[in-house]
């Protein structure tokens, strides 16, 4: 079925894009375009419910609802992945900052007068 190819290939391509892509501007634009397209598709689907089933039948899915679910799964997957990646980037920036701060603010304690056990 066409839908299987579309969904599997979409998932793989999206995952690779998210995990390996390094051009930030490109990825951001891609995400925004997808979000806009998704919103537009949603409005159309609400206004013309019949179109969803027609589109579903075109790619070999029986019901429009199923097509919507498939699309949602992909969206959830990718937003999760991109959030994960974003969090990792933020964490590593935070780590760098924290490290720089720690090294800049070296706090040396003053050693207390040695107790008598010290010279054993």
């Amino acid at each position: 079925m066409i839908i299987k190819v579309v969904l599997v290939v979409g998932a793989v391509v999206g995952a690779v894009w998210l995990l390996r892509g390094s051009r930030h501007a490109g990825r951001l634009a891609f995400t925004r375009v997808c979000s806009l397209a998704f919103a537009a598709a949603w409005i159309v689907a609400v206004l013309f419910p019949g179109l969803v089933t027609t589109a579903a039948n075109l790619v070999g899915v029986g019901r429009g609802t199923d097509l919507v679910i498939y699309a949602l799964v992909l969206v959830v997957l990718f937003s999760g992945l991109s959030q994960y990646r974003r969090t990792r980037e933020l964490e590593s920036q935070l780590a760098e900052l924290t490290r720089a701060l720690a090294l800049a603010n070296r706090q040396d304690g003053r050693r207390r007068e040695p107790v008598e056990a010290d010279h054993v």
Binding site: E91, A95, A102, L103, R111
Partner: protein, 232 residues
């Protein structure tokens, strides 16, 4: 034995909420090693105050980043110390012995080897639980496979690095996966290394502080994610 000049050795102790044990550990270390640096990884139990009371250098992370990150901070500190020739990494929970650390430093000095790794299987593991032993065996197999080093132990916190080693090692793993990463970096930087038998004491305290066995999964996940992330 002839007392050795240890002024170019820095003992690096990563600390996260180890206040009950830290005092004793630092006290023992300072009997032998003049230079100790604690990297307090955002402790909330006053570990940093304990460290300062002992007069050691203290680097404090404002937030908890993980042991790998703490080690990296310590290694960067050592790089900025022009006189530092050796770094000893030493756990804060009291499981390591100062005598082992000293012996390993002497090996590093005498044999001019870049990295000396403490090995529990060559030495003695005191009161090691069975599940821990099984898990370490699996981890060891993975470490050998991924690093290509003929290790007899892995994920042990007691190590000695010479300047060549701590200049070369860039740890990117912030949590516990740094140990596997370090082994891989030894191999990829073509550092010379050897293992040294040590004994490890699994006290009730260190067990309660120790890692959950499930953390092995997190280690694998972090290592896998890092491979995906790497630009190569």
């Amino acid at each position: 034995m002839e007392p050795r000049d240890l002024s170019d050795v820095w003992v690096l102790v990563p600390v996260f909420n180890e206040a009950p044990a830290l005092g004793g550990v630092l006290h023992d270390l300072l009997q032998v090693f003049p230079n100790v640096v604690c990297v307090d990884d955002g402790s909330s139990d006053g570990s940093d105050l304990v460290a300062r009371a002992h007069g050691v250098a203290v680097l404090r992370h404002a937030i908890n980043l993980g042991q790998g990150a703490a080690l990296r901070t310590g290694l960067e500190f050592a790089r900025s110390e022009p006189d530092a020739s050796y770094v000893v990494t030493f756990d804060a929970d009291g499981q390591h012995s100062v005598a082992d650390a000293l012996a390993m430093v002497e090996v590093a000095m005498a044999e001019d080897v870049d990295v000396v790794l403490g090995s529990r299987t060559q030495g003695r593991a005191v009161d090691q639980p069975r599940t821990k032993a099984l898990l370490l065996k699996a981890g060891l197999r993975y470490a050998r496979w991924s690093s290509g080093l003929e290790l007899t132990d892995t994920h042990n916190g007691l190590r000695v690095l010479n300047r060549r080693a701590f200049e070369a090692l860039e740890l990117r793993q912030r949590r516990m996966a740094h140990a596997s990463e370090l082994e891989r970096l030894i191999a990829s930087n073509k550092l010379t290394w050897r293992e040294h038998p040590i004994s490890v004491t699994y006290s009730e305290y260190s067990m309660s502080k120790g890692q959950s066995n499930l953390n092995a999964f997190n280690v694998l996940f972090d290592l896998f994610a890092a491979r995906l992330d790497s630009p190569s």
